[in-house]
Symmetry: C2
Subunit: 307 residues, 2 copies
Amino acid sequence: MHSQPDALAMLPSWRLGPTRDAIVEFLGASSAIDPADRVAVFDNDGTLWCEKPAYPQLAFFLHELGAAVKANPALAERAEYAALLRRDDAAVAALGIGRVALALAELFEGIDPRAFSELSYQFIHQGTHPTLGRPFAGTVYQPMLELLDALRAHGFATFIVSGGGTEFVRAISSSLYGIAPEGVVGTLIGYEFRNEGGAPSLVRTASLTGEANEGAAKVVHIQQHLGRRPVFAAGNSVGDREMIEWAMAASGPTLGLLVDHDDAEREFAYVSVAGTFESDENIVDIAQREGWAVASIRNDWAQVFPA
Amino acid sequence: MHSQPDALAMLPSWRLGPTRDAIVEFLGASSAIDPADRVAVFDNDGTLWCEKPAYPQLAFFLHELGAAVKANPALAERAEYAALLRRDDAAVAALGIGRVALALAELFEGIDPRAFSELSYQFIHQGTHPTLGRPFAGTVYQPMLELLDALRAHGFATFIVSGGGTEFVRAISSSLYGIAPEGVVGTLIGYEFRNEGGAPSLVRTASLTGEANEGAAKVVHIQQHLGRRPVFAAGNSVGDREMIEWAMAASGPTLGLLVDHDDAEREFAYVSVAGTFESDENIVDIAQREGWAVASIRNDWAQVFPA
Protein backbone atom coordinates (compact mmCIF):
# COMPACT_ATOMS: atom_id res chain seq x y z
CA MET A 1 0.00 0.00 0.00
CA HIS A 2 1.22 3.45 -0.91
CA SER A 3 1.93 5.33 2.31
CA GLN A 4 0.46 8.80 2.82
CA PRO A 5 2.66 11.81 3.60
CA ASP A 6 2.42 12.86 7.25
CA ALA A 7 0.08 15.85 6.94
CA LEU A 8 0.37 16.84 10.57
CA ALA A 9 4.18 17.02 10.49
CA MET A 10 3.92 19.31 7.44
CA LEU A 11 1.89 21.95 9.31
CA PRO A 12 4.07 23.02 12.28
CA SER A 13 2.76 26.61 12.31
CA TRP A 14 -0.84 25.46 12.65
CA ARG A 15 -2.09 25.18 16.22
CA LEU A 16 -4.09 22.23 17.44
CA GLY A 17 -7.79 22.83 16.82
CA PRO A 18 -10.75 22.18 14.52
CA THR A 19 -9.28 24.10 11.57
CA ARG A 20 -6.05 22.13 11.54
CA ASP A 21 -8.14 18.99 12.06
CA ALA A 22 -10.25 19.85 9.02
CA ILE A 23 -7.15 20.35 6.87
CA VAL A 24 -5.52 17.13 8.04
CA GLU A 25 -8.75 15.24 7.50
CA PHE A 26 -9.09 16.63 3.96
CA LEU A 27 -5.48 15.76 3.10
CA GLY A 28 -6.03 12.25 4.47
CA ALA A 29 -9.19 11.83 2.40
CA SER A 30 -7.56 13.16 -0.77
CA SER A 31 -6.19 9.77 -1.80
CA ALA A 32 -9.78 9.02 -2.83
CA ILE A 33 -9.74 11.92 -5.32
CA ASP A 34 -8.68 11.21 -8.92
CA PRO A 35 -5.19 12.77 -9.26
CA ALA A 36 -6.40 14.88 -12.20
CA ASP A 37 -9.04 16.41 -9.92
CA ARG A 38 -6.64 17.34 -7.12
CA VAL A 39 -6.80 21.04 -7.81
CA ALA A 40 -6.29 23.68 -5.12
CA VAL A 41 -6.80 27.41 -5.67
CA PHE A 42 -5.67 30.26 -3.42
CA ASP A 43 -6.56 33.90 -3.41
CA ASN A 44 -3.40 35.99 -2.93
CA ASP A 45 -3.98 39.33 -1.12
CA GLY A 46 -4.92 38.62 2.48
CA THR A 47 -4.82 34.85 1.89
CA LEU A 48 -1.22 34.10 0.99
CA TRP A 49 0.32 37.42 2.05
CA CYS A 50 -0.54 40.57 3.95
CA GLU A 51 -2.79 43.07 2.13
CA LYS A 52 -2.77 45.85 4.75
CA PRO A 53 -2.44 48.78 5.13
CA ALA A 54 -2.56 48.68 1.30
CA TYR A 55 -2.27 46.00 -1.36
CA PRO A 56 1.43 45.47 -2.18
CA GLN A 57 0.52 45.99 -5.84
CA LEU A 58 -0.85 49.43 -5.00
CA ALA A 59 2.31 50.22 -3.01
CA PHE A 60 4.31 49.21 -6.09
CA PHE A 61 2.19 51.34 -8.41
CA LEU A 62 2.51 54.34 -6.05
CA HIS A 63 6.25 53.83 -5.97
CA GLU A 64 6.33 53.91 -9.77
CA LEU A 65 4.00 56.90 -9.82
CA GLY A 66 6.44 58.74 -7.55
CA ALA A 67 9.27 58.01 -9.97
CA ALA A 68 7.17 59.08 -12.96
CA VAL A 69 6.20 62.37 -11.30
CA LYS A 70 9.81 63.05 -10.44
CA ALA A 71 10.67 62.68 -14.14
CA ASN A 72 7.61 64.64 -15.28
CA PRO A 73 6.11 66.85 -12.55
CA ALA A 74 3.09 67.76 -14.71
CA LEU A 75 1.74 64.26 -14.08
CA ALA A 76 0.95 65.26 -10.51
CA GLU A 77 -1.83 67.54 -11.81
CA ARG A 78 -3.83 64.72 -13.29
CA ALA A 79 -6.89 64.15 -11.06
CA GLU A 80 -6.36 60.41 -10.55
CA TYR A 81 -2.68 60.78 -9.72
CA ALA A 82 -3.28 63.85 -7.51
CA ALA A 83 -5.81 61.93 -5.41
CA LEU A 84 -3.39 59.01 -5.04
CA LEU A 85 -0.44 61.24 -4.17
CA ARG A 86 -2.50 62.95 -1.44
CA ARG A 87 -3.60 59.47 -0.21
CA ASP A 88 -7.11 60.90 -0.52
CA ASP A 89 -9.32 57.81 -0.36
CA ALA A 90 -12.51 59.85 -0.70
CA ALA A 91 -11.28 61.49 -3.89
CA VAL A 92 -10.19 58.11 -5.26
CA ALA A 93 -13.63 56.71 -4.49
CA ALA A 94 -15.32 59.71 -6.10
CA LEU A 95 -13.28 59.26 -9.28
CA GLY A 96 -13.99 55.54 -9.21
CA ILE A 97 -11.51 52.79 -8.38
CA GLY A 98 -11.67 51.46 -11.93
CA ARG A 99 -10.71 54.77 -13.48
CA VAL A 100 -7.86 55.26 -11.01
CA ALA A 101 -6.58 51.72 -11.60
CA LEU A 102 -6.53 52.30 -15.36
CA ALA A 103 -4.66 55.57 -14.86
CA LEU A 104 -2.04 53.61 -12.93
CA ALA A 105 -1.92 51.00 -15.71
CA GLU A 106 -0.99 53.82 -18.09
CA LEU A 107 2.30 54.18 -16.25
CA PHE A 108 3.38 50.91 -17.84
CA GLU A 109 1.84 51.37 -21.27
CA GLY A 110 4.19 50.36 -24.07
CA ILE A 111 6.72 48.41 -22.00
CA ASP A 112 7.33 44.74 -22.56
CA PRO A 113 6.12 42.06 -20.16
CA ARG A 114 9.59 41.19 -18.94
CA ALA A 115 10.40 44.79 -18.00
CA PHE A 116 7.16 45.00 -16.00
CA SER A 117 7.92 41.70 -14.31
CA GLU A 118 11.41 42.82 -13.30
CA LEU A 119 10.15 46.08 -11.80
CA SER A 120 7.52 44.20 -9.79
CA TYR A 121 9.97 41.58 -8.60
CA GLN A 122 12.51 44.15 -7.45
CA PHE A 123 9.93 46.14 -5.52
CA ILE A 124 8.52 43.13 -3.69
CA HIS A 125 11.90 41.65 -2.84
CA GLN A 126 13.59 44.93 -1.93
CA GLY A 127 10.80 47.26 -0.83
CA THR A 128 9.95 47.35 2.87
CA HIS A 129 6.46 46.90 4.24
CA PRO A 130 5.40 50.19 5.92
CA THR A 131 4.59 48.75 9.36
CA LEU A 132 5.79 45.16 9.61
CA GLY A 133 9.48 46.00 9.28
CA ARG A 134 10.26 43.36 6.67
CA PRO A 135 10.37 43.22 2.88
CA PHE A 136 7.02 42.64 1.19
CA ALA A 137 8.40 39.24 0.19
CA GLY A 138 8.56 38.43 3.91
CA THR A 139 4.88 39.19 4.51
CA VAL A 140 3.75 35.83 3.14
CA TYR A 141 1.96 33.67 5.68
CA GLN A 142 4.09 30.81 6.94
CA PRO A 143 1.11 28.53 7.69
CA MET A 144 -0.15 28.97 4.12
CA LEU A 145 3.28 28.13 2.66
CA GLU A 146 3.15 24.93 4.72
CA LEU A 147 -0.35 24.23 3.43
CA LEU A 148 0.76 24.73 -0.19
CA ASP A 149 3.56 22.23 0.35
CA ALA A 150 1.30 19.74 2.13
CA LEU A 151 -1.21 19.89 -0.72
CA ARG A 152 1.55 19.31 -3.29
CA ALA A 153 2.88 16.39 -1.25
CA HIS A 154 -0.62 14.91 -1.57
CA GLY A 155 -0.57 15.27 -5.35
CA PHE A 156 -2.44 18.56 -5.70
CA ALA A 157 -1.77 21.09 -8.43
CA THR A 158 -1.73 24.49 -6.71
CA PHE A 159 -2.85 27.71 -8.35
CA ILE A 160 -3.32 31.36 -7.45
CA VAL A 161 -6.62 33.04 -8.33
CA SER A 162 -6.19 36.69 -7.44
CA GLY A 163 -8.14 39.89 -7.95
CA GLY A 164 -4.78 41.54 -8.52
CA GLY A 165 -3.02 41.95 -11.83
CA THR A 166 -2.04 38.60 -13.30
CA GLU A 167 1.35 39.85 -14.43
CA PHE A 168 2.16 41.46 -11.09
CA VAL A 169 1.39 38.25 -9.20
CA ARG A 170 3.29 36.15 -11.71
CA ALA A 171 6.39 38.24 -11.15
CA ILE A 172 6.60 36.89 -7.59
CA SER A 173 4.63 33.63 -7.70
CA SER A 174 7.64 31.41 -8.39
CA SER A 175 9.95 32.98 -5.82
CA LEU A 176 7.36 33.32 -3.05
CA TYR A 177 5.06 30.35 -3.58
CA GLY A 178 6.71 27.96 -6.02
CA ILE A 179 3.90 28.55 -8.52
CA ALA A 180 4.86 28.95 -12.19
CA PRO A 181 3.57 31.96 -14.19
CA GLU A 182 0.96 29.85 -15.98
CA GLY A 183 -0.48 28.86 -12.59
CA VAL A 184 -1.63 32.41 -11.87
CA VAL A 185 -5.13 33.57 -12.78
CA GLY A 186 -5.80 37.25 -12.12
CA THR A 187 -7.03 40.43 -13.72
CA LEU A 188 -5.52 40.57 -17.20
CA ILE A 189 -3.92 43.52 -18.92
CA GLY A 190 -4.13 43.72 -22.71
CA TYR A 191 -1.17 43.43 -25.05
CA GLU A 192 -0.38 44.51 -28.54
CA PHE A 193 1.85 42.47 -30.82
CA ARG A 194 3.93 44.44 -33.30
CA ASN A 195 6.27 43.28 -35.97
CA GLU A 196 7.99 46.10 -37.74
CA GLY A 197 10.90 45.22 -39.98
CA GLY A 198 11.26 41.69 -38.65
CA ALA A 199 11.67 42.74 -35.01
CA PRO A 200 8.63 41.36 -33.21
CA SER A 201 7.62 42.96 -29.93
CA LEU A 202 4.83 42.61 -27.43
CA VAL A 203 3.85 45.66 -25.38
CA ARG A 204 1.43 46.34 -22.55
CA THR A 205 -1.64 48.40 -23.23
CA ALA A 206 -3.53 50.33 -20.55
CA SER A 207 -6.75 48.35 -21.04
CA LEU A 208 -7.99 45.27 -19.28
CA THR A 209 -8.79 42.09 -21.20
CA GLY A 210 -12.07 40.80 -19.80
CA GLU A 211 -13.54 41.32 -16.38
CA ALA A 212 -11.72 42.04 -13.14
CA ASN A 213 -11.08 38.72 -11.41
CA GLU A 214 -13.44 38.91 -8.44
CA GLY A 215 -16.55 37.04 -7.34
CA ALA A 216 -18.28 34.94 -10.00
CA ALA A 217 -15.61 35.99 -12.51
CA LYS A 218 -13.10 33.96 -10.49
CA VAL A 219 -15.09 30.80 -11.18
CA VAL A 220 -15.38 31.56 -14.90
CA HIS A 221 -11.68 32.38 -15.17
CA ILE A 222 -10.65 29.23 -13.28
CA GLN A 223 -12.43 27.22 -15.95
CA GLN A 224 -11.11 29.31 -18.83
CA HIS A 225 -7.49 29.46 -17.69
CA LEU A 226 -7.02 26.25 -15.76
CA GLY A 227 -9.71 24.04 -17.23
CA ARG A 228 -10.28 22.13 -14.02
CA ARG A 229 -12.68 22.48 -11.13
CA PRO A 230 -10.98 22.95 -7.75
CA VAL A 231 -11.85 20.76 -4.78
CA PHE A 232 -9.95 23.05 -2.40
CA ALA A 233 -10.22 26.84 -2.30
CA ALA A 234 -8.86 29.39 0.17
CA GLY A 235 -9.72 33.07 0.43
CA ASN A 236 -10.34 35.91 2.83
CA SER A 237 -12.89 38.22 1.27
CA VAL A 238 -16.33 38.39 -0.29
CA GLY A 239 -14.58 38.37 -3.68
CA ASP A 240 -13.58 34.77 -2.92
CA ARG A 241 -17.03 33.57 -1.95
CA GLU A 242 -18.19 32.10 -5.27
CA MET A 243 -14.85 30.35 -5.84
CA ILE A 244 -15.03 28.71 -2.42
CA GLU A 245 -18.66 27.72 -2.91
CA TRP A 246 -17.79 26.27 -6.31
CA ALA A 247 -14.97 24.14 -4.88
CA MET A 248 -17.02 22.95 -1.91
CA ALA A 249 -19.90 21.82 -4.12
CA ALA A 250 -17.68 19.47 -6.15
CA SER A 251 -18.24 15.76 -5.61
CA GLY A 252 -16.01 13.80 -3.22
CA PRO A 253 -13.89 15.32 -0.45
CA THR A 254 -13.67 19.11 -0.66
CA LEU A 255 -12.48 21.91 1.61
CA GLY A 256 -13.13 25.65 1.69
CA LEU A 257 -10.84 27.70 3.91
CA LEU A 258 -11.24 31.29 5.06
CA VAL A 259 -8.40 33.31 6.58
CA ASP A 260 -9.88 35.45 9.36
CA HIS A 261 -7.84 38.58 10.06
CA ASP A 262 -8.45 38.89 13.80
CA ASP A 263 -4.95 39.55 15.07
CA ALA A 264 -4.24 43.26 15.39
CA GLU A 265 -1.10 42.51 17.32
CA ARG A 266 0.75 40.26 14.90
CA GLU A 267 -0.95 41.30 11.66
CA PHE A 268 -4.16 43.34 11.16
CA ALA A 269 -7.73 43.06 12.41
CA TYR A 270 -10.43 43.58 9.78
CA VAL A 271 -13.16 41.73 7.99
CA SER A 272 -14.51 41.82 4.46
CA VAL A 273 -18.21 42.71 4.20
CA ALA A 274 -20.46 41.98 1.24
CA GLY A 275 -21.98 45.46 1.32
CA THR A 276 -24.65 44.82 -1.29
CA PHE A 277 -28.19 46.07 -1.13
CA GLU A 278 -29.40 42.60 -0.22
CA SER A 279 -26.89 41.86 2.49
CA ASP A 280 -24.13 43.38 4.53
CA GLU A 281 -23.14 40.07 6.02
CA ASN A 282 -19.44 39.71 6.69
CA ILE A 283 -17.40 36.89 5.18
CA VAL A 284 -16.65 35.20 8.53
CA ASP A 285 -20.37 34.86 9.26
CA ILE A 286 -20.93 33.54 5.74
CA ALA A 287 -18.10 31.03 6.19
CA GLN A 288 -19.46 29.78 9.48
CA ARG A 289 -22.99 29.46 8.16
CA GLU A 290 -21.80 27.57 5.07
CA GLY A 291 -19.46 25.28 6.96
CA TRP A 292 -16.09 26.47 5.63
CA ALA A 293 -12.99 25.94 7.75
CA VAL A 294 -12.01 29.27 9.31
CA ALA A 295 -8.36 29.98 10.08
CA SER A 296 -8.26 32.53 12.85
CA ILE A 297 -4.85 34.17 12.63
CA ARG A 298 -4.93 34.83 16.37
CA ASN A 299 -5.95 31.34 17.43
CA ASP A 300 -4.90 28.95 14.67
CA TRP A 301 -1.50 30.26 13.62
CA ALA A 302 1.44 29.74 16.01
CA GLN A 303 3.57 31.77 13.63
CA VAL A 304 2.29 34.29 11.07
CA PHE A 305 5.34 35.18 8.94
CA PRO A 306 8.47 33.20 8.04
CA ALA A 307 11.34 33.53 10.54
CA MET B 1 29.16 18.00 -14.43
CA HIS B 2 25.48 17.31 -15.02
CA SER B 3 25.17 15.00 -17.99
CA GLN B 4 22.80 15.90 -20.83
CA PRO B 5 20.05 13.52 -21.92
CA ASP B 6 20.85 11.81 -25.22
CA ALA B 7 18.73 13.88 -27.60
CA LEU B 8 19.49 11.70 -30.59
CA ALA B 9 18.36 8.50 -28.90
CA MET B 10 15.09 10.20 -28.00
CA LEU B 11 14.17 10.89 -31.65
CA PRO B 12 14.08 7.46 -33.33
CA SER B 13 11.35 8.44 -35.82
CA TRP B 14 13.35 11.38 -37.14
CA ARG B 15 15.54 10.61 -40.14
CA LEU B 16 19.10 11.76 -40.41
CA GLY B 17 19.23 15.24 -41.96
CA PRO B 18 19.44 18.98 -41.33
CA THR B 19 16.08 19.19 -39.51
CA ARG B 20 16.97 16.50 -36.98
CA ASP B 21 20.40 18.12 -36.69
CA ALA B 22 18.79 21.49 -35.90
CA ILE B 23 16.63 19.93 -33.19
CA VAL B 24 19.51 18.03 -31.62
CA GLU B 25 21.67 21.15 -31.73
CA PHE B 26 18.95 23.22 -30.05
CA LEU B 27 18.42 20.61 -27.34
CA GLY B 28 22.16 20.49 -26.76
CA ALA B 29 22.37 24.28 -26.49
CA SER B 30 19.37 24.48 -24.14
CA SER B 31 21.47 23.95 -21.01
CA ALA B 32 22.51 27.60 -21.52
CA ILE B 33 18.87 28.74 -21.20
CA ASP B 34 17.56 29.72 -17.76
CA PRO B 35 15.24 26.86 -16.72
CA ALA B 36 12.38 29.34 -16.25
CA ASP B 37 12.76 30.36 -19.90
CA ARG B 38 12.67 26.83 -21.28
CA VAL B 39 9.22 27.21 -22.77
CA ALA B 40 8.07 25.29 -25.85
CA VAL B 41 4.76 25.88 -27.63
CA PHE B 42 3.08 23.67 -30.21
CA ASP B 43 0.18 24.30 -32.50
CA ASN B 44 -2.14 21.28 -32.48
CA ASP B 45 -4.03 20.72 -35.77
CA GLY B 46 -1.54 19.69 -38.46
CA THR B 47 1.38 20.03 -36.03
CA LEU B 48 0.74 17.43 -33.34
CA TRP B 49 -1.99 15.47 -35.11
CA CYS B 50 -3.58 15.11 -38.52
CA GLU B 51 -6.02 17.89 -39.52
CA LYS B 52 -7.20 16.42 -42.83
CA PRO B 53 -9.59 15.83 -44.49
CA ALA B 54 -11.26 17.93 -41.73
CA TYR B 55 -10.26 19.15 -38.28
CA PRO B 56 -11.08 16.43 -35.73
CA GLN B 57 -12.98 19.09 -33.76
CA LEU B 58 -15.21 19.71 -36.78
CA ALA B 59 -15.74 15.95 -37.17
CA PHE B 60 -16.78 15.86 -33.52
CA PHE B 61 -19.15 18.80 -33.92
CA LEU B 62 -20.70 17.20 -37.02
CA HIS B 63 -21.14 13.96 -35.11
CA GLU B 64 -22.96 15.87 -32.35
CA LEU B 65 -24.99 17.76 -34.94
CA GLY B 66 -26.10 14.45 -36.39
CA ALA B 67 -27.29 13.30 -32.98
CA ALA B 68 -29.06 16.61 -32.34
CA VAL B 69 -30.88 16.46 -35.69
CA LYS B 70 -31.95 12.89 -34.99
CA ALA B 71 -33.52 14.09 -31.74
CA ASN B 72 -34.98 17.23 -33.32
CA PRO B 73 -35.28 17.02 -37.14
CA ALA B 74 -36.32 20.68 -37.41
CA LEU B 75 -32.72 21.65 -36.69
CA ALA B 76 -31.73 20.43 -40.15
CA GLU B 77 -33.64 23.39 -41.64
CA ARG B 78 -31.38 25.98 -40.05
CA ALA B 79 -29.15 27.46 -42.77
CA GLU B 80 -25.84 26.88 -40.96
CA TYR B 81 -26.66 23.29 -40.08
CA ALA B 82 -28.15 22.57 -43.51
CA ALA B 83 -24.92 23.72 -45.20
CA LEU B 84 -22.84 21.54 -42.87
CA LEU B 85 -25.06 18.49 -43.29
CA ARG B 86 -24.79 18.80 -47.09
CA ARG B 87 -20.99 19.22 -46.69
CA ASP B 88 -21.52 22.31 -48.83
CA ASP B 89 -18.26 24.24 -48.35
CA ALA B 90 -19.38 27.06 -50.62
CA ALA B 91 -22.55 27.61 -48.60
CA VAL B 92 -20.54 27.52 -45.37
CA ALA B 93 -18.14 30.10 -46.78
CA ALA B 94 -21.05 32.27 -47.94
CA LEU B 95 -22.61 32.20 -44.47
CA GLY B 96 -19.23 32.89 -42.92
CA ILE B 97 -17.08 30.45 -40.97
CA GLY B 98 -17.53 32.48 -37.79
CA ARG B 99 -21.31 32.32 -37.93
CA VAL B 100 -21.28 28.59 -38.67
CA ALA B 101 -18.83 27.94 -35.83
CA LEU B 102 -21.05 29.82 -33.37
CA ALA B 103 -24.08 27.84 -34.57
CA LEU B 104 -22.16 24.67 -33.75
CA ALA B 105 -21.21 26.09 -30.35
CA GLU B 106 -24.93 26.44 -29.65
CA LEU B 107 -25.20 22.64 -29.67
CA PHE B 108 -23.38 22.68 -26.33
CA GLU B 109 -24.97 25.76 -24.79
CA GLY B 110 -25.95 25.25 -21.17
CA ILE B 111 -23.96 22.07 -20.50
CA ASP B 112 -21.23 21.96 -17.91
CA PRO B 113 -17.53 21.85 -18.83
CA ARG B 114 -17.08 18.27 -17.66
CA ALA B 115 -19.92 16.98 -19.84
CA PHE B 116 -18.39 18.70 -22.88
CA SER B 117 -14.99 17.29 -22.04
CA GLU B 118 -16.33 13.75 -21.76
CA LEU B 119 -18.13 13.93 -25.11
CA SER B 120 -14.95 15.22 -26.78
CA TYR B 121 -12.75 12.59 -25.16
CA GLN B 122 -15.06 9.73 -26.18
CA PHE B 123 -15.24 10.87 -29.78
CA ILE B 124 -11.48 11.23 -30.19
CA HIS B 125 -10.66 7.95 -28.50
CA GLN B 126 -13.46 5.92 -30.06
CA GLY B 127 -14.28 7.66 -33.34
CA THR B 128 -12.45 6.46 -36.45
CA HIS B 129 -10.57 8.74 -38.82
CA PRO B 130 -12.36 8.66 -42.20
CA THR B 131 -9.35 7.63 -44.31
CA LEU B 132 -6.45 6.59 -42.08
CA GLY B 133 -8.24 3.59 -40.58
CA ARG B 134 -7.36 4.35 -36.99
CA PRO B 135 -9.02 6.23 -34.14
CA PHE B 136 -8.48 9.99 -34.15
CA ALA B 137 -6.37 9.46 -31.03
CA GLY B 138 -4.01 7.43 -33.21
CA THR B 139 -3.49 10.22 -35.73
CA VAL B 140 -0.97 12.02 -33.52
CA TYR B 141 2.48 12.31 -35.06
CA GLN B 142 4.98 9.91 -33.52
CA PRO B 143 8.00 12.17 -34.24
CA MET B 144 6.29 15.08 -32.47
CA LEU B 145 5.51 12.92 -29.43
CA GLU B 146 9.21 12.08 -29.30
CA LEU B 147 10.08 15.76 -29.62
CA LEU B 148 7.71 16.67 -26.75
CA ASP B 149 9.42 14.08 -24.56
CA ALA B 150 12.91 15.18 -25.58
CA LEU B 151 12.10 18.80 -24.75
CA ARG B 152 10.74 17.79 -21.34
CA ALA B 153 13.84 15.69 -20.69
CA HIS B 154 15.81 18.89 -21.29
CA GLY B 155 13.76 20.81 -18.72
CA PHE B 156 11.25 22.46 -21.02
CA ALA B 157 7.68 23.23 -20.06
CA THR B 158 5.55 22.18 -23.03
CA PHE B 159 2.30 23.88 -24.02
CA ILE B 160 -0.29 23.70 -26.79
CA VAL B 161 -1.32 26.91 -28.53
CA SER B 162 -4.14 25.96 -30.86
CA GLY B 163 -6.62 27.79 -33.04
CA GLY B 164 -9.12 25.15 -31.94
CA GLY B 165 -11.42 25.36 -28.96
CA THR B 166 -9.46 25.38 -25.71
CA GLU B 167 -11.87 23.02 -24.00
CA PHE B 168 -11.90 20.56 -26.88
CA VAL B 169 -8.12 20.34 -26.95
CA ARG B 170 -7.92 20.08 -23.16
CA ALA B 171 -10.21 17.07 -23.23
CA ILE B 172 -7.48 15.09 -25.01
CA SER B 173 -4.25 16.97 -24.14
CA SER B 174 -3.42 14.80 -21.12
CA SER B 175 -4.14 11.45 -22.74
CA LEU B 176 -2.53 12.23 -26.10
CA TYR B 177 0.33 14.57 -25.23
CA GLY B 178 0.85 14.50 -21.47
CA ILE B 179 -0.11 18.18 -21.26
CA ALA B 180 -2.39 19.25 -18.39
CA PRO B 181 -5.55 21.29 -19.08
CA GLU B 182 -3.93 24.52 -17.86
CA GLY B 183 -1.19 24.03 -20.47
CA VAL B 184 -3.62 24.51 -23.36
CA VAL B 185 -4.18 27.93 -24.92
CA GLY B 186 -6.86 28.04 -27.58
CA THR B 187 -10.01 29.79 -28.64
CA LEU B 188 -12.08 30.30 -25.50
CA ILE B 189 -15.78 29.72 -25.06
CA GLY B 190 -17.64 31.89 -22.54
CA TYR B 191 -19.18 30.56 -19.32
CA GLU B 192 -21.90 31.66 -17.01
CA PHE B 193 -21.74 31.00 -13.28
CA ARG B 194 -25.07 30.44 -11.56
CA ASN B 195 -25.86 29.85 -7.95
CA GLU B 196 -29.50 29.20 -7.35
CA GLY B 197 -30.50 27.90 -3.96
CA GLY B 198 -26.96 27.04 -2.91
CA ALA B 199 -26.30 24.76 -5.89
CA PRO B 200 -23.54 26.48 -7.87
CA SER B 201 -23.15 25.58 -11.53
CA LEU B 202 -21.04 26.67 -14.44
CA VAL B 203 -22.47 26.37 -17.93
CA ARG B 204 -21.17 26.94 -21.44
CA THR B 205 -22.50 29.85 -23.43
CA ALA B 206 -22.46 30.01 -27.23
CA SER B 207 -20.20 33.09 -27.33
CA LEU B 208 -16.46 33.35 -27.56
CA THR B 209 -14.43 35.14 -24.91
CA GLY B 210 -11.89 37.27 -26.74
CA GLU B 211 -10.41 36.70 -30.17
CA ALA B 212 -9.98 33.44 -32.05
CA ASN B 213 -6.51 32.12 -31.29
CA GLU B 214 -4.73 32.61 -34.61
CA GLY B 215 -1.88 34.77 -35.86
CA ALA B 216 -0.87 37.69 -33.64
CA ALA B 217 -3.56 36.67 -31.14
CA LYS B 218 -1.51 33.54 -30.41
CA VAL B 219 1.36 35.70 -29.18
CA VAL B 220 -0.92 37.86 -27.02
CA HIS B 221 -2.65 34.80 -25.56
CA ILE B 222 0.65 33.05 -24.83
CA GLN B 223 1.60 36.02 -22.67
CA GLN B 224 -1.84 36.31 -21.06
CA HIS B 225 -2.33 32.63 -20.31
CA LEU B 226 1.19 31.33 -19.83
CA GLY B 227 3.07 34.48 -18.84
CA ARG B 228 6.30 33.36 -20.46
CA ARG B 229 7.91 33.90 -23.82
CA PRO B 230 8.63 30.69 -25.72
CA VAL B 231 12.08 29.96 -27.14
CA PHE B 232 10.75 27.04 -29.18
CA ALA B 233 7.61 27.09 -31.33
CA ALA B 234 6.23 24.57 -33.81
CA GLY B 235 3.41 25.03 -36.28
CA ASN B 236 2.25 24.22 -39.78
CA SER B 237 0.17 27.14 -41.02
CA VAL B 238 0.15 30.88 -41.55
CA GLY B 239 -1.79 31.15 -38.28
CA ASP B 240 1.38 30.01 -36.51
CA ARG B 241 3.69 32.49 -38.19
CA GLU B 242 3.72 35.25 -35.55
CA MET B 243 4.13 32.76 -32.72
CA ILE B 244 7.14 31.18 -34.41
CA GLU B 245 8.66 34.57 -35.21
CA TRP B 246 8.11 35.65 -31.60
CA ALA B 247 9.90 32.58 -30.25
CA MET B 248 12.77 32.83 -32.71
CA ALA B 249 13.44 36.47 -31.85
CA ALA B 250 13.97 35.69 -28.14
CA SER B 251 17.52 36.02 -26.87
CA GLY B 252 19.75 32.96 -26.57
CA PRO B 253 19.20 29.66 -28.39
CA THR B 254 15.81 29.44 -30.11
CA LEU B 255 14.16 27.16 -32.63
CA GLY B 256 11.18 27.55 -34.91
CA LEU B 257 9.87 24.37 -36.55
CA LEU B 258 7.43 23.99 -39.41
CA VAL B 259 5.70 20.71 -40.26
CA ASP B 260 5.51 20.46 -44.05
CA HIS B 261 2.67 18.25 -45.25
CA ASP B 262 4.26 16.84 -48.38
CA ASP B 263 3.44 13.16 -48.04
CA ALA B 264 0.22 12.26 -49.86
CA GLU B 265 1.00 8.60 -49.44
CA ARG B 266 1.36 8.33 -45.67
CA GLU B 267 -0.60 11.44 -44.66
CA PHE B 268 -1.80 14.36 -46.84
CA ALA B 269 -0.13 16.80 -49.22
CA TYR B 270 -1.12 20.44 -48.82
CA VAL B 271 0.31 23.77 -47.81
CA SER B 272 -1.07 26.74 -45.93
CA VAL B 273 -1.06 30.02 -47.86
CA ALA B 274 -1.24 33.50 -46.39
CA GLY B 275 -3.83 34.62 -48.92
CA THR B 276 -3.81 38.28 -47.94
CA PHE B 277 -3.98 41.15 -50.38
CA GLU B 278 -0.30 41.85 -49.77
CA SER B 279 0.97 38.34 -50.17
CA ASP B 280 -0.04 34.88 -51.18
CA GLU B 281 3.23 33.39 -50.09
CA ASN B 282 2.95 29.88 -48.70
CA ILE B 283 4.19 29.01 -45.24
CA VAL B 284 6.98 26.70 -46.43
CA ASP B 285 8.51 29.50 -48.48
CA ILE B 286 8.17 31.86 -45.52
CA ALA B 287 9.83 29.29 -43.23
CA GLN B 288 12.73 28.79 -45.60
CA ARG B 289 13.26 32.50 -46.09
CA GLU B 290 13.18 33.14 -42.33
CA GLY B 291 15.44 30.23 -41.43
CA TRP B 292 13.00 28.00 -39.56
CA ALA B 293 13.65 24.29 -39.40
CA VAL B 294 11.29 22.52 -41.79
CA ALA B 295 10.14 18.98 -41.04
CA SER B 296 9.21 17.37 -44.33
CA ILE B 297 6.89 14.52 -43.46
CA ARG B 298 8.06 12.63 -46.52
CA ASN B 299 11.77 13.06 -45.95
CA ASP B 300 12.30 13.68 -42.25
CA TRP B 301 9.87 11.27 -40.62
CA ALA B 302 10.69 7.56 -40.70
CA GLN B 303 7.35 6.88 -39.07
CA VAL B 304 4.34 9.22 -39.12
CA PHE B 305 1.86 7.67 -36.67
CA PRO B 306 2.38 5.53 -33.56
CA ALA B 307 2.54 1.79 -34.21
